[in-house]
């Protein structure tokens, strides 16, 4: 496929890797922010192509991993109602709540439908006027414009039976939280290319300056990721901390202004709870007051109450770059993809699931 295969050519990947070997003289710890990048790194064995001095740690950019236990519990409560059709991206069905998961609700007869796009949920609402249709709107800046558009279209179509359970996250405040945490090991970042396709990358400049970390906007294919590492390592070796754009084929400085406009129309910035990590100021999105009628939490009177996560999952430490999946005592034992104890074992973009799935992988695929 065009714009995929050419970025996976083994020789090209190895050539960039050789250039990284040539440039590096000291140990560096670099975090890739997005779960899609984590998946590619593990799948294509990119860590093994890097010099031993470079360690990649895996950031919090997997929405399935960071959606809070409280929101999962609310999703389970709403999806269990007989008057509700609950629409969700497939990965969310297996995320453990305090008690069971959405799949358990479905097995017990709950009407839960997996969708690929919020527009499908909108269609379900149009087709089922006598049911309450709730869409589980999770994600980062990349997904938020799709959800904002679903709200705008629902308003235009005067749909009264459609609402969203919103769990939306913003990347820059998470990067800031990681940089300012005591004991932070991360010296440079590969920023999530598709988040920047929406938001641009001006927001990252003050972070790079203040925390003295190079930030490279990076794509998702092996060649992209290794070039992102190269652009990061070159800066680290020279003591430079700039924001660079590796992924210029899809990202420009200002991002997608059309999408930003609809985002601002529909959502407000608010504090947000990240599973395993805790609350981060101004790191999430909420429906604006004018669209509060689309808020499923409000519509179904969801209380804010979930106990602490007692599973023993260390996802928060993994997503802050402090530990790796293999450091978790439950990895591959009590926690496996068939029976996940924590959220990063669920989705293919979760670091634990990626490590588990490709645990025998050591070289780059060449297809």
């Amino acid at each position: 496929m065009k714009f995929l295969h050419e970025y996976r050519q083994r020789e090209a990947v190895e050539k960039i890797a050789a250039e990284i070997h040539r440039v590096v003289t000291r140990p560096w710890t670099i975090m890739e922010v997005c779960g899609g990048q984590t998946h590619a790194i593990v799948k294509f064995g990119l860590q093994q192509l890097l010099p031993p001095q470079i360690e990649l740690v895996h950031g919090p950019g997997c929405p399935v991993c960071v959606t809070s236990l409280e929101i999962i519990d609310q999703a389970i409560a709403i999806a269990s109602r007989p008057d509700v059709i609950f629409c969700s991206f497939g990965d969310m069905l297996r995320v453990p709540g305090s008690n069971g998961d959405l799949l358990t609700v479905k097995a017990a007869g709950g009407d839960i439908r997996t969708v690929y796009s919020p527009l499908q949920a909108l269609k379900v609402a149009e087709d089922n006027p006598h049911k309450e249709v709730v869409f589980f709107a999770i994600g980062f800046e990349t997904t938020a414009p799709a959800h904002a558009m679903a709200v705008v279209l629902a308003t235009k179509k005067r749909l009264r039976n459609f609402s969203l359970l919103v769990s939306h996250f913003l990347v820059p405040p998470a990067i800031e939280a990681i940089c300012s945490a005591p004991g932070s090991r991360v010296q440079g970042f590969l920023a999530a290319g598709h988040v920047c396709a929406i938001m641009g990358y001006e927001q990252y400049r003050p972070l790079a300056r203040e925390y003295r970390v190079p930030i490279v906007v990076t794509g998702f294919e092996p060649l992209d990721i290794l070039e992102g590492v190269l652009l990061c390592v070159r800066q680290l070796e020279q003591g430079i901390c700039l924001v660079l754009n590796q992924y210029a084929r899809a990202v420009d400085r200002n991002g997608n202004l059309n999408a930003q406009e609809i985002l601002e129309l529909v959502f407000d910035i608010d504090d947000q709870a990240w599973r395993g990590v805790g609350s981060i100021a101004a790191s999430g999105l909420r429906l604006r007051a004018e669209f509060a009628r689309f808020d499923a939490g409000r519509r179904f009177g969801m209380a804010h109450s979930s106990g602490p996560d007692r599973s023993g999952c260390i996802s928060g430490r993994i997503m802050q770059g402090l530990q790796k999946p293999c450091d978790c005592p439950h990895f591959g034992g009590r926690c496996r993809p068939e029976q996940p104890l924590g959220a990063p074992m669920v989705s293919s973009e979760g670091a634990c699931a990626a490590y588990y799935r490709y645990r025998n992988r050591s070289t780059a695929d060449a297809h």
Partner: protein, 80 residues
């Protein structure tokens, strides 16, 4: 769920601004995709698609940059 993938705009299906959509081809699999956020995208263009929405048009010129770089640092011959 969070992957964005490139696809080729084959045929515009709806021209009304918020619901502007097209049939987009992902290596042989076609889907109807909302193009409201990339009003500049035309048939034949590649777009990055995420949860049913095109979020950015792929700039072909920029897409070749890394290969020009590889050519500079070494023997592109190997790639062909």
């Amino acid at each position: 769920m969070c992957l964005g993938i490139p696809g080729r705009v084959e045929e515009l299906l709806n021209e009304s601004p918020l619901e502007r959509s097209a049939r987009v081809n992902f290596g042989g699999i076609c889907k109807e995709i909302n193009l409201a956020y990339v009003p500049e995208a035309r048939e034949g263009d590649y777009v990055i698609v995420h949860v049913g929405f095109a979020i950015s048009r792929v700039r072909e010129q920029e897409a070749h940059r890394i290969f020009r770089y590889l050519e500079r640092i070494g023997e592109l011959g190997e790639l062909q």
